[in-house]
């Protein structure tokens, strides 16, 4: 099973990188661009077939290492 973890800053936490990207996109003429938030994607190969177990263990990984839950939130996507 493969897991994809999306880690992004929580709403309300200032994201200066996202802001800089937004400014750059506006500068390139993409006038329709509003707020931009930047995050990261982490792909994990898991030696686990049970989806519930896989989700639980990836959640544990997020809490312990992959995200800093003081400033970040995470989403988990699993693929068979």
């Amino acid at each position: 099973m493969k897991a994809r973890v999306f880690v992004t800053l929580k709403n309300g936490v200032l994201d200066p990188q996202g802001k800089a990207i937004g400014h750059a996109l506006n500068g390139l003429g993409f006038g329709q661009v509003g707020e931009v938030r930047q995050g990261k994607v982490i792909d994990i190969e898991l030696n686990e077939r049970d989806e519930a177990k896989a989700r639980a263990s990836v959640k544990d990984m997020c809490e312990k290492l992959l995200a800093n839950t003081i400033i970040e939130k995470y989403e988990i996507e699993l693929k068979g």
Partner: protein, 223 residues
């Protein structure tokens, strides 16, 4: 008094810390490698130095916080051993939960490397007892992720309990930190983290030795 400096791959201010520790204690500190399991038990002060531990992978300090030696640093901190985290060391302390909050990208996205004015806000600690309350000192900073953030309740607690030890002088906040916070203390008042580098302001050859009283005060309090 015995001291220790934790050395991670890509620590780079570990030897600056060692020089000042030897100067104030008269003894070389233990240089403890991150993969070791224990800090020697006769140590009264542990310094987590500046640098770019583990290449700042994932988040600054995140990998170092999971290293084997940090389990023992946490255990010793709980027993009351003083821990000083400087710059990357501060990031390691927040990532490992020894200090609240987090250090984010500098608000203007620039790495800052220069001297800054810092105000000593609180002298009721082993780290700041040799300073005067409200004293303005100059320490160098060198970081890209020093923007201190915590939720409003945590900030209110830190402020209310006299745990903000250092604040950037008015108009000199180099990174966008909430309330201009430069350094904070844990609840038990034995763990301190700050972004500026007092250990690099200890030799008159390098400018005003404004960092020296921190280390002299620690020896006085713990020695």
């Amino acid at each position: 008094m015995k001291t220790a400096v934790i050395v991670f791959p890509a620590s780079n201010r570990d030897r600056d810390a060692a020089v000042v520790l030897e100067q104030v204690t008269g003894q070389k500190p233990y240089m403890v490698w991150h993969a070791d399991s224990e800090v020697p038990s006769d140590v009264s002060l542990i310094v987590i130095p500046g640098g770019f531990s583990y290449g700042d992978y994932l988040r600054c300090g995140a990998m170092a916080a999971q290293s084997r030696i940090m389990r023992d640093v946490k255990a010793k901190a709980e027993k009351g051993v003083a821990v000083l985290g400087i710059c990357n060391g501060f990031q390691v302390l927040t990532e490992s939960g020894l200090l609240p909050g987090a250090l984010m990208r500098n608000a203007d996205l620039k790495f800052v490397s220069r001297d800054v004015g810092v105000v000593v806000e609180e002298t009721q600690s082993a780290f700041t007892r040799r300073y005067n309350k409200g004293e303005r000192v100059v320490y160098p900073v060198a970081h890209g992720e020093g923007n201190y953030y915590a939720d409003p309740e945590t900030i209110a607690r830190l402020e209310g309990e006299g745990r903000v030890l250092f604040r950037y002088a008015p108009g000199e906040n180099p990174n966008g930190s909430v309330n201009d916070i430069a350094g904070i203390l844990n609840e038990k008042r034995n763990v301190m983290g700050l972004m500026p580098h007092p250990e690099c302001a200890c030799d008159p050859l390098l400018g005003a030795p404004d960092g020296l009283p921190m280390f002299q005060g620690l020896v006085e309090a713990l020695g």
